[in-house]
Amino acid sequence: MKTRIALIIAGVSALFVIVAVCYYALMQFAEEKYSIVLKDSSLEIVDFAIEDKEEITNDVPPNPLKNPYFGDLHVHTRYSFDAYVFGVNATPYDAYRYAKGEMIKHPLGYEMQLKEPLDFYAVTDHGIYMGMIQEYGDPNSPQAGYEWAIPFQNINREENRTLESMGERLNLFSLMAGDGYLERPYPVWHPKMWQAIFTKNRQLASKAFDYGVHKSAWADIANAAEENNEPGKFTTFIGYEFTAGTEVEGGNLHRNVIFESSKAPIRPWSREDSLNPMELWAWMDKLRAKGLDSIAIPHNSNGSNGEMFEVETYYGTPIDLTYSETRMRNEPIVEITQVKGTSDTHPLLSPDDDWADFEIMDGRVGARPPTYSYPAGGYVRDAYLRGLMLDWKGQGNPYKFGLIGSTDTHLGAGSFDESNFWSKVGVVDGSPMSRGSIPLTEERLEQLRDYSEEYNQPVSAVEVDGNSYAIGFDQWGSSGLAAVWAEENTRESIFSALRRKEAFATTGPRVAVRFFAGFDLTSIDINAESLIEEAYDKGVPMGADLFADGEKVPEFLVWAQKDKYSASLQRIQIIKGSVTNSGARPSEKVFDVICSDGLEVDPTTHRCPDNGARVNIEDCSITNNVGATELKATWRDPDFNPKDKAFYYVRVLENPTCRWSTWDALKAGIKPRSDLHKTIQERAWSSPIWYIPVPEDIDIFAL
């Protein structure tokens, strides 16, 4: 009996040993041949710093009262799948050269150059399939033989960079924008499949994906940022775009992720990993735990069909304190304006705001066929109000973000000037005719019709004033700039300015704005040299909280300076939003605070009188000697209730000037379209200051 038991034990242990050896051998093989290991590849952190880089010493002392720095944190280059399809050949290096003031070429051949260099810049290519499309396009690459690569082959050869290739290009964009085109999974037993599972890297499971190419594209983008970062003079950030959306309705949930230092993960965490921004934040939190801070900046909420600033989570569950805190930790800043429209507010949401109908883009981002995007939940003012309401209900405020602008250019080069506009998607909208500002010729109209038929797309032309115009790009515009108040032009200083929301947005011109709140600001002499020092002493700057001081009425200080090259300033407004303490009823109001030309604000309507600034549509000239080079004032809230939660932000308006579509028409010697705005009032927005009332003793339980 005993021997039998011993035999069984021996047999079982032998079996166990064999299994263990086999498993070990298998894993060894897997690791050596296919580098399969049990780890999360997205959490591997790499330092991209250039080792022997000559550091330019920055001996200019930091300014404790802070300087305004202007930049762009949303720039695509050839590494983005769509930019490549749009004919763009600009590299990240070209993009940084452009930001420093050098000239680079548009894919259609003309020159692009800034009037004055920018202070900071970040190349943020799409994380999804970063670098892959370029690889498909290269007929000599290992990917070139596959059927999915064929349509991309040599698409950007010199002679194909023409307006006629637009149909082919848009069709490729539609193919890729719809999910699945690039999903060519390996069979389940394939080692690549295991690798995908064991390294939590879903894209590896696709035959159309080459990890080496992907990683080196990302490393090249990081290297370009590192090479061009010059502390004290010019700041760059390593970043990318997380291009996700809701699975139904195509709600745009795009965000740019910006890293604080020369360190970054080995690969961008993209929509292949998840469509859910909450999982993006979880990933960013994990990186933060490893000592790498980053922020995500949502953009084009206007085209999200109301999904960007929902009152529930991605899963449809109620927002709770943890959600609000996580969102604010990861998303302190939102992009309010860019080429694809402005997301301040919508005329349907703010019917009493005379300036709400401004550069409205009312379609969903990337939707084909073009689809209307519902405004509620897609604009920042509405989001601020929703945030107050959620906070009132004890769910925390997930929408307490600051504001910047950026361009979202896909050319490496932002277009900030109405009189010299090149839009953003290269061959597709690089000429006035293709972006709908001058009528289509018969021949081009014919081409568009052919394209619609060939690729099963809706009609791409519209009849206005008896002429046909291309559709799709007339609601786009030459906007926006990101601006911060920072002690010096370095990564650390600018990143922490974004973190504390001491940031503002403009629609292109370098209009700068200061904004402070406190309970004793009217006592400051606004003509004293010590103005800003005192304001920091007695108040809080934009982006901050102002905690209630008994029943005291908050006072504000605003100060704006015009762009040297743009129109003069017309007025400064403060936009107030609040919810009542007795039921979270929202309200909003626009107050003119100071007018140009010595004009007085009407105390009942809170409006400035007309300052007489006009635009001559015949030649785009503007009235001379009207408007201000700078405006400053202190202001007290006239309808203040100390118990109501509230936010206040500044809007600075320039005198009207011609819109890009008018400039295009003028240059072509024709009349501008009657259905588009002919003029535009360029503007700047500050980040808000939130008024925090004394907490109530009553707990509110949402039913």
Binding site: D52, K53, E54, D59, V60, P61, N63, L65, N67, P68, E116, P117, N140, E147, I150, P151, E158, E159, E168, P185, P187, V188, W189, A512, R514, I526, N527, A528, E529, S530, L531, I532, W559, Q561, K564, T629, E630
Partner: protein
């Protein structure tokens, strides 16, 4: 009647195995013999015919074109399978060029310091450090009286050491080590006149900027200079390597360009 537990487990694995096998056999197609011709490719083929012959092909011709294309593809694949690409001098040369091109991109041989010094001499302008100014100012915002106010303030400074009134400037009061470019960015081009051989350490003005009138006190001017080669050798090396890379690529392009014929539609209108 229920099955014994271990039978259920066996059945479970058996079904799993069958599904697994089925999946493998149905989804695996790496070595397929399909020839996929996309619409774009067909368009391209017919457009090429059209461009050569001057009219679109008729049905028979279209069939011939597609057949030729398919045969070419089949022969190409069969040739690859038989290894005919090996020991072919044309293919060899082409591949050799490819690899050398790749190498040129990655090759990072250390340049001699003589080369670097020459490079530095040629590009001296690029490394020139421009002159900078440190200054403070009194500001009078744009208005018809601004100039008079500024003049009055200047006389007050001369008499009492400080003006009776002035205004805060948006970008602050003191500016340290600003180059002319930075001054232009902060104040506008008009103010540059003030920095053309200025008198140092005394109040001068008024000067106009884009924003109004200024009285300036320039207390330091650091002369522009060309740094010594030894100080910035690393920077020069970086730039040299970058330039070498560009040069190698353009050399390669030049050498290969002559093989191409460029065809542009002579009647094309933009």
């Amino acid at each position: 009647m229920s099955l014994k537990p271990y039978l259920r487990i066996i059945l479970f694995f058996l079904f799993g195995f069958i599904i697994y096998i089925a999946d493998i056999t149905m989804n695996y197609d790496e070595e397929s013999k399909d020839i996929y011709i996309s619409d774009q490719e067909l368009d391209g083929l017919f457009a090429a015919w059209n461009s050569q012959v001057g009219r679109p092909p008729n049905e028979q011709e279209a069939l011939n074109i597609v057949n030729d294309f398919i045969e070419e593809e089949i022969l190409y694949r069969e040739a690859l399978r038989l290894g005919l690409d090996q020991n072919d001098r044309i293919i060899k040369r082409r591949l050799a060029q490819k690899i050398s091109f790749l190498k040129q991109e990655t090759d990072r041989e250390e340049p001699s310091s003589k080369k670097l010094a020459d490079f530095f001499d040629i590009n001296k302008d690029k490394y020139y450090v421009p002159p900078t100014f440190s200054f403070t100012h009194f500001y009078f915002s744009q208005s018809p009286e601004a100039e008079n106010k500024a003049k009055k303030a200047l006389s007050e400074i001369v008499k009492f050491g400080a003006p009776s009134s002035s205004e805060p400037f948006f970008l602050g009061k003191n500016f340290s080590e600003y180059s002319l470019g930075e001054i232009e960015q902060a104040f506008g081009q008009e103010l540059l006149i003030a920095f053309d051989n200025p008198a140092l350490n005394q109040w001068i003005g008024p000067f106009s900027s884009s924003y109004g009138e200024h009285l300036l006190f320039i207390n330091n001017k650091s002369l522009g200079y060309s740094p010594k080669f030894s100080e910035i050798e690393d920077l020069v090396r970086q730039d040299y390597m970058l330039q070498e890379q560009d040069r190698k690529i353009s050399d390669y392009l030049d050498s290969i360009k002559s093989e191409y014929r460029v065809i542009i539609n002579p009647t094309y209108e933009f």
